[in-house]
Subunit: 316 residues, 2 copies
């Protein structure tokens, strides 16, 4: 039992649970989950903060009200613009004094919109590299690029540039990127396809939205509840991706039957491996008849990150 | 903003959150969730029991050990066969004395395999209509039957027979059924396609497994954590389903653009409406650019029901 559709031709057994557990390590019993405190802005939880970061924020009582059970951004910062500005000033100070360095050394001058949930108003905007310390939900888009050769389904896999700030040299989705402020979902996916793989306009009409993959992981930078918007892009057999922004060192085409073995390896970027797994499940490659953990895999690819976050009564 | 891909041609605004909230009413603040107690067999949680049912089980201390925080099947029933037998005897007694009548009046002489999770051994088998009172996870398969007419994607919708025990006359998936003991997932889906819609063998090769939809609802019968295995079946334009088992009164073909309005109505069976929603999301019909609750919808279509259930240390 290896999870593969017998028609896909490969019988090597792989432990696919590892793929979803790597990205959901915040849910494991030895995570810092039980010591973390919620971070609220205007009574809306927007993040999860580790004890170490909480201690640091406690040193700035004019900005943050820190207790053992919660952190609130001071309500005197009442508008999106005021909050964006005070958080920017705070983070610049942290960066200049070398604090939160594991996260802020990746400073990108790229801002994320922060809200309680995707369907609610933007509460403030924040430098992308500070997402981990505040444990805010971040959003990205991932595009599965696939084609058929001699009737066999094949998927394009990228190898990240050795100079990428995060996960250099690892295998990755065909195309992926963070959702920056101001771009639509499809617009973002199309832009990334053009920049990262030189997909011509005429092929972009095949781009199909297929759902999300969501999970919570933690690392030295902080807590990362993430929602990735997933697109599938069927490409012509003769299309060859060419990287245009220096973020990818090479693209390689794999038969889908080889992907289960590949995505369980440490050489594959963890969240991208999970998104390949989602693709294999949606496309009848990994099937319930052959994969005992099928239900668990699907559940853990869709962890309800928005349900982690609460709202407080405004008279709290 | 109505969630539809603008290319699908329809602009009527519908509240799709209703579709996922109907099937997840156990998660709403006014559910009985906080009063329910876990049901354990051999230290594995296999169910969730409401206070009313717990009181009833308390009257049978030779079978169940009931406290304010848990219910255990007596460990003297040590094998799958012994547990199956004692539960059968208990349920026959309930049925004959008219207790648990809201659930057991639907007695089907059809058994479910009960386990802690899909990847673990069967702990016992139980009459299907008793699933609600014990709050065990049940599994089913749903098949989305679709085709294209003049380039437009169309979906087959069934209308349930007026004589069905549950949800008579409601609109439903093309084909759906419970996973009974002893059948494989694909085997079950194929059998249901043949019995419910007379799909010929030659079309069944197009049946594709695409994941699961999972949720927890409660009703007068009890608590229902459910996992549905989802298949898509692309059918030729000239295929017409014919019901062979009397469970369906008619089949009707709808353009996918009309489905959002249809699935929010009370005339659509709640879990089948959610599975149509999952189909529309996976097939680029409902897209994040136009649906503010997109993330919430995807999360609530994949509630991690297996994570509701605990294991106890065996020396508890």
């Amino acid at each position: 039992m290896n999870g593969l559709n017998p028609m896909s031709g490969i019988t090597k057994k792989v432990n696919l649970s590892r793929v979803v557990e790597r990205i959901n390590n915040f849910l494991s019993p030895n995570s810092s989950r039980n010591e973390c405190v919620p971070f609220y802005v205007d009574y809306n939880q927007v993040g999860i903060v580790t004890p170490g970061v909480a201690l640091l924020l406690q040193g700035h009582p004019e900005i943050f009200t820190v207790s053992s059970t919660s952190i609130h951004l001071n309500n005197k910062f009442g508008s999106c613009e005021e909050r964006t500005e005070i958080i920017r000033v705070f983070l610049e100070g942290m960066k200049n004094s070398g604090q939160l360095n594991k996260a802020l050394k990746g400073w990108r001058n790229e801002t994320y919109n922060i809200r309680h949930s995707m369907s609610e108003p933007v509460l403030f905007r924040m430098e992308r590299s500070a997402a981990g310390p505040f444990g805010v939900i971040t959003y990205g888009c991932h595009i599965n690029g696939y084609t058929y050769k001699n009737g066999e389904m094949m998927m394009w896999v990228a190898k990240r540039s050795p100079t990428k700030q995060t996960y250099p040299n690892l295998l990755d989705q065909f195309v992926a990127g963070g959702l920056s402020s101001g771009l639509g979902f499809r617009e973002c996916a199309e832009k990334e396809c053009q920049e990262e793989a030189s997909v011509p306009e005429k092929h972009l009409k095949n781009l199909k939205s297929t759902g999300t993959v969501s999970y919570v992981h933690e690392d030295e930078r902080g807590v990362h509840p993430e929602v990735e918007f997933i697109f599938d892009l069927k490409l012509p057999e003769d299309f060859e991706p060419i990287n245009a922004d220096g973020e990818v060192q090479e693209f390689k085409l794999y038969p889908v039957s080889q992907l289960p073995e590949l995505i369980v390896q440490d050489s594959f970027k963890p969240n991208s491996a999970a998104i390949v797994l989602d693709f294999l499940i949606r496309h009848n490659i990994i099937i319930p008849d052959n994969e005992p953990s099928y239900c668990y895999l699907v559940e853990m690819l869709h962890f309800p990150v928005q349900s982690l976050f609460n709202k407080l009564p405004t008279e709290a």
